[in-house]
Amino acid sequence: MSAEEPSFVCQTFTRIMEQNSDTSYAVATVGVLTEVLKRSQSTTMMGAQGELREAYKELQKLHTNITIKSGFQLFILFVTRSFEENPDFNECKRVLIERGEKFMEMTQKARTRISHLGNPFIRDNIRILVHGHSKVVVQLLSYAAACHKRFHVLVTESRPDNAGWHMLNTLAKHNVPAELITDTAVGFYMETIDLVLVGAEAVMENGGIINKIGTFQIAMAAKEFNKPMYVTAESYKFVRAYPLNQRDIPSGAQRFVDLNPSSAEIPCPSHFVNPLNDYTPPKFIRLLITDLGVLTPSVVSDELIK
């Protein structure tokens, strides 16, 4: 392992992310690992896998994000399975590199498929509540709008980073009628809502999700009012982790942000704690709309095994 390797991994990662602003971290990770495999001088599978793990460690230092972990897990699983099918190492390597490169188109493909699968759930005259800024949700809603469906969206502010403002603008660009509400008004509006639609940063093995802080609260309110909560997530976000409560959220998935301490409105900036993500258990989720199909939460672990 030469001294250049670390920066190669980081350079490739940054390059891929810059080339395509829409790419998710998981897909970029697979892209990086494919590049590493291309450059690899190994002649054995063990050696190649070792190099991939090294590269993964470098990536983890660069960005702590759980989707990098899921991308890595997916690729390693694929490597192992391919090796079982093609015992000849060189042939296997060739297949892996070819497929890995094709995988780059995956993000868009996955999101398109999710839009098609999720479209029938958006019926005329429904009111949808969305939380946080999710590219998948935006794509689904704009596809439904393009199919001339009439519906109305309530967007929560999504404090502390006000992602909801960004979401509102994006939806307006796609001709989706939307309104902004505060996070605290969710309980107030829940009785008028027909369904809740969110994305996910990661999907856990039990079908629960890690998503923007506030998702859990909304899920609880929705459950109480018997409103379905649908999660749209691409399949490469499935992670082998099984959190039992909020403290169990995997390290790559939880971040605490500092709000600008010089803001005059915040009384005690040092006492202001801001986790960015929370964990929503599977019992609050009705269905997961993924590119593998529409799944119930209990099926996620089954998919991971396959």
Binding site: L74, F75, L77, F78, R81, R99, G100, K102, F103, M106, T112, H116, N119, P120, F121, R123, Y143, A146, C147, H148, P228, S235, Y236, F238, R286, L287, D291, L292, G293, V294, L295, T296, S298, V299, D302, E303, L304, K306
Partner: protein
């Protein structure tokens, strides 16, 4: 000849769109007549109930696939998709016809993939379905991009598929027997079982159990069709201690009941049920008293659909005269100009949380396991019937409208 006359006489029963669609199937004359017959029977509700519809559809498919010319899997798949779309449009409530078509599509795709992979060991052991290739996209196959269009011809494919359909017909024939196999394990002596309305599967199940166990049955009559009356008389003829109760007494009786065993019209992909009107009430009462709610259903009833996307399949309004007969309505309208609106829905939705167990001819499982079962029974690509051969990629208005693609008529059988 009689059928030809009948079919021309009934020509007006299908809309223009549906006629065009029928023509696009490109069938031989005698098969076209068979299809027409099925369509008319479905539309006029001459055949009702999942079992009858499933059987008729299976018979039709065997006849058509046997006698029509087709060389590649792709031809058959396209044809079946069109037929499936047509059948579900003609009668959205009868979901089992779509399921049978999906099952046959599974046979075709499965055999094609087996022949393609050249895995001859698997060909010998036809019971090896479950360990075979996973149907549909999976996490593992995300990186494999198997864009097979199923167009390679294989000699024996047709014969194998027909064999499988014959097996399916046999399976349907022996359905009640297979579901009742485990009856003794589920019913114990001195138990009080509650059932609802009329389900042949449940009646056979209880009769089988009665051979060895001594139990009593409470039957809710299921107004306004009162199908429960038939069940009660049938069971009592087989010397099972039966009590008939009106629907309003369900909650009151529930405290004394050990188990609820019911049939259903269809099972949805999340484990929810589409059953007779009033079933939801029964399920809620059972939940309240923590009484196990067991559903006996054949596998052909399991649909890869969700309620919220398929509300059309759920709306089955029967004649309001069952509730309020026409003379009464006359009297009411004389005194009140506005009259009265009477609705008689035939079907009800039960969410998966209220169901404890499914007893089917392919085994016993809980509602959360349905998705797994679905993936072993149908391919993902067949969950919704395509109307055009190439995959969806259009943003046109009315995505669900039929777009007849005349260029693929060459490939239809």
């Amino acid at each position: 000849l009689l059928f030809v006359i009948l079919s021309t006489f009934c020509f007006s029963l299908l809309e223009m769109e549906e006629e065009e669609y029928l023509a696009a199937l490109n069938l031989e004359e005698k098969n076209l007549i068979l299809v027409r017959r099925l369509l008319y029977s479905l539309r006029r509700r001459k055949i009702r109930g999942s079992y009858e519809v499933a059987k008729q559809t299976a018979k039709l498919l065997k006849e058509i696939l046997d006698t029509e010319e087709w060389n590649t899997a792709q031809q058959a798949i396209n044809f079946l998709h069109k037929l499936g779309f047509l059948l579900s449009k003609i009668q959205p409530v009868e979901l089992s016809s779509g399921n049978i078509i999906r099952r046959v599509l599974f046979f075709i795709r499965d055999w094609y993939l087996k022949y393609k992979s050249g895995n001859f060991k698997q060909l010998e052991n036809r019971d090896d379905r479950k360990t075979g290739l996973a149907s549909g996209p999976t996490l593992r196959r995300l990186l494999t991009f198997d864009d097979d269009d199923f167009s390679t011809p294989f000699e024996d494919l047709k014969a194998q598929v027909i064999d499988d359909i014959v097996e399916l017909l046999d399976e349907l024939d022996g359905l009640y027997h297979s579901v009742s196999e485990e009856a003794n394990h589920h019913i114990h002596s001195k138990e009080i079982i509650m059932t609802y309305g009329r389900s042949n599967t449940v009646v056979e199940f209880l009769k089988e159990a009665a051979k060895e166990r001594d139990f009593s049955v409470v039957v809710a009559e299921c107004a306004p069709s009162n199908s429960g009356h038939l069940t009660a008389s049938n069971l009592s003829q087989h010397e099972i201690d039966t009590t008939l109760i009106p629907d309003s007494a369900i909650f009151a009786m529930m405290a004394r009941v050990n188990k609820v065993i019911v049939g259903t019209h269809a099972v949805l992909a999340d484990g929810g049920l589409i059953g007779s009107s009033g079933l939801r009430m029964l399920a809620q009462a059972a939940k309240y008293y923590s009484v196990p709610f067991v559903v006996c259903a054949g596998m052909y009833k399991i649909c890869p659909l969700y309620l919220s996307t398929h509300l059309d399949n759920f709306l089955d309004l029967n004649s309001p005269s069952q509730i309020l007969n026409f003379e009464e309505v006359d009297r009411i309208t004389k005194s009140n100009q506005n009259g009265v609106t009477v609705q008689n829905p035939g079907l009800d939705f039960v969410p998966p949380e209220l169901v404890s167990l499914f007893l089917t001819n392919a085994g016993t499982f809980s509602p959360s396991y349905i998705s797994r079962v679905l993936s072993e029974f149908y391919f993902q690509e067949d969950h919704s019937f395509r109307t055009i051969t190439h995959s969806h990629s259009q943003h046109t208005s009315g995505v669900d409208s039929i777009a007849i693609d005349s260029s693929d008529d060459e490939s239809s059988p």
